[in-house]
Amino acid sequence: MYRLVLKNALRNRRRTVLTALSVAVSLFLLVSLRTLTIEIKGDSLMTEQSTRRLITRSGVSLAVPLPLADRERLRRVPGVDVVSAYQWFPCFYKQPREPMIVIGADPDFAGTDPEYPTTNAADLAAFRADVSGVLIPVKMMQRFGWKVGDRVTFTGTIFPFNLDLTIRGTFTGPAQNAPVCQYRLINELLRRTMPSRADRTMAFILLTSHRPPAAIAREIDDTFRNSDVPTRTESEKDFVLGFASMLGNVALLITFIAGAVVFAIVLVATNTMSMAVRERTHEIAVLKTLGFRPGQVVAMFVAESIVISGGGGIAGVVGAKLFFAVFDIYTMTNGMIQHFNIQAPTVVLALAVALTMSIVSAVVPAWRGAARPIAAGLREVA
């Protein structure tokens, strides 16, 4: 019985291969799209620690900076271990078409957080001692071929100055996103070029360890409720999720496309199976003459479909895994998409889709074939 299924699947080899390839391509796409929707929500940044890092910013939006003097009040809030200014410096490195961000923070912030591990203590000390030092994510070092000690210039796109920085060290960790330099330098340059914006920071970043972060966030926002600039404090995780929600319908759109992809493969597979059934009208009649029940015949076709589409499905999923392991999405998108981890649930989902559609696509044509009276089937000329 199993051998017959396998033999049947391999009988029309070209068709089997074409169908399997078609399914493989579609599942490759499905896996990629699903991973994309997960990653644009910043999933790879979502670690346990990211719920313990708090970001305090103006209640209005990031466009309204907070006075630097708020730092002292934040330090006094119980449960807050480290407070640092947190200023994005939108810029580019040589290529205006590839915008990026450098983060300005207090020197004692970098290296304190367990998720920003620096390569070694000497580098960290060198960074803290140099006001124009910068720590670079390892991936970015590789992308631009930089070495520790190199001087790099980031051209500002919002602020009217550039940052001339010396690479003092590297860091790894899930927050592989942006170089970290000293806020002090940015502020100094602001004082010179744009005094009205100096001594203000886009936000503060806080490290907490022993109190529930939500309680700390509430206390901070209560403290600042009646100040000049009321604040909004949330975990870094929620901060990132907020950006994802700004994307609005994009995730929904991608989900629609994924749905269309699934629908398309069902059509392709149904076509293949109905061709297989039509070709074997004669054989089905013979099998039934030999005593096989229609249910058994249907089961045979379903099994064949599972072999073909399941094979294609596995090829697609493995293909996607291999593809994104070999080609680095970070380099391909010029750093726009930082991570592309194909997670286990995505793989399971894709294989479940392949299995379901292989069954669905076989049942209808097979049942129509099997339900035919033996005499009619035998009379048919292929």
């Binding site: 070209r14 068709r15 074409l18 169908t19 390839l21 078609s22 391509v25 579609s26 490759f28 796409l29 799209l33 994309l36 103006s58 209640g59 209005v60 939006s61 990031l62 466009a63 309204v64 939108p90 915008p99 051209t155 500002g156 796109t157 919002i158 602020f159 009217p160 744009m194 009205s196 914006r197 000049d228 600039v229 009321p230 909004r232 907020g242 950006f243 929600s245 700004m246 994307l247 609005g248 319908n249 994009v250 759109l253 496309i257 269309a260 992809v261 629908f263 398309a264 493969i265 059509l267 392709v268 149904t270 076509n271 293949t272 109905s274 061709m275 726009m336 000329v381 292929a382």
Partner: protein, 386 residues
């Protein structure tokens, strides 16, 4: 002599199930392609439609957008006295020095996004005649009032007529709704420039909009703004500025193209499958055609034609399937302005044609190999086959 197309059409009709399944399979690919392109086209149309021909817009040199531009108050003052600028009925120069912030506001549905709040100068509205008041009245500068675009009012909380929008310490009253057609201003809320300054402690300006007196002086206004060494302005015609913002659609376009290409490969395999089956079951017909004197080339061409017909049908089905999306309005974040942009899906005739062409290419790719196989069959063996 060529095999009549009627032969292909009838063949497709005879093998109904297989034809329909393939047509829909290709249709889905084309639908995805056209839908994504309609989205890109919608974004493009919005930006291309924004701006008046005589207007000149200046932002800080190097800034990527108006919201990312910071102009010192002193530079802004210099800009008021530029030659070549037109004058309004009251004799005042038609220059609007503006402040823009974005305000994080909850959507009516779920989540939140940054909405642009533009603080206009006294002549700001005269310079943008596209915005028409449809409900309530225009804001009065200095009274913390807002006139909100219709799309924003519909999509965001506390933005409807009569609502009070509270952000930070600032309270704004929504006193009117405007319609700015299908332009970038349809994603904005308007108030006075000084209201932004006092509400958000923001002294820096964002952009300067000036109306040239006539066509001839557009260039000189641009040069005057761009070349003044005291300021660091990037000045362009307003239309050119917004056209360039179309780059906001680039990521969507790239993503769409990749998806479309991968789906097309899958669909081409499917078309190939169908065509191989068609060739295999028509061995005798092919033999008869050869016996009647049709050449190998004519037979190959006939099968390719059949594949292309099949896929064009798929292209039309896919294109038609997407038409209901036309005009559907949606919003996402423009990463260059860091704020909400609203736009409509625009399913245009050229896009439809592109979709059908895209399908035809899939058919061609899927049809060539089976057609060659058909043309190589020997008439004698084919005739003998059952």
């Amino acid at each position: 002599m060529l095999v009549p197309i009627k032969y292909n059409v009838r063949n497709l009709l005879v093998r109904r199930t297989s034809t329909l399944l393939t047509v829909f399979g290709i249709g889905v690919s084309v639908a995805v392609f056209v839908a994504v392109m309609a989205l890109v086209e919608g974004i493009r149309q919005t930006f291309v439609a924004t701006g008046e021909p005589l207007n000149v817009l200046a932002i800080r040199n190097g800034a990527q957008s108006e919201t990312g531009s910071l102009i010192e108050p002193s530079s802004a003052l210099v800009a008021r006295a530029i030659r070549g600028v037109g004058r309004g009925e009251d004799g005042e120069p038609l220059v609007s020095v503006e402040r823009m912030v974005y305000v994080n506001q909850p959507r009516v549905t779920s989540g939140s996004s940054n909405v642009v709040m533009r603080g206009l100068g006294a002549t700001g509205r005269t310079l943008r005649p596209v915005a028409r008041l449809v409900e309530g009245r225009w804001y009065v500068p200095g009274r913390r009032e807002l006139t909100v675009s219709r799309t924003i009012a519909a999509r965001f909380r506390d933005c409807s007529l009569g609502d009070e929008l509270v952000t930070g310490r600032a309270h704004f009253k929504v006193v009117g709704i405007f319609d700015a057609g299908n332009t970038a201003f349809a994603s904005e809320m308007w108030t006075g420039a000084e209201d932004i300054a006092s509400a958000f402690e923001r002294v820096n300006y964002s952009d300067i909009l000036a109306r040239a007196a006539d066509r001839g002086s557009v260039r000189s206004v641009i040069d005057a703004l761009a070349e003044d060494p005291r300021m660091h302005f990037d000045a362009r015609s307003e239309r050119a500025f917004y056209s360039e913002q179309t780059k906001a659609a680039t990521p969507v376009q790239i993503l769409g193209n990749i998806i479309a290409i991968v789906m097309a490969v899958g669909s081409a395999f499917a078309a190939m499958n169908t065509m191989y089956a068609a060739v295999a079951s028509r061995g005798r017909e092919v033999a008869v055609l050869r016996a009647l004197g049709f050449s190998r080339a004519a037979i190959a061409l006939s099968f390719v034609t059949e594949a292309v017909l099949l896929s064009i049908a798929g292209g039309i089905v896919g294109g038609v399937g997407v038409v209901p999306l036309n005009g559907l309005s949606t919003g996402t974040t423009n990463w260059f302005t860091f704020s909400e942009m609203n736009f409509h899906f625009a399913v245009t005739a050229p896009l439809f044609a592109q979709g059908v062409l895209f399908a035809a290419i899939m058919g061609l790719a899927g049809g060539i190999l089976p057609a060659l196989r058909a043309s190589r069959m020997s008439p004698a063996t084919a005739m003998r086959a059952l």
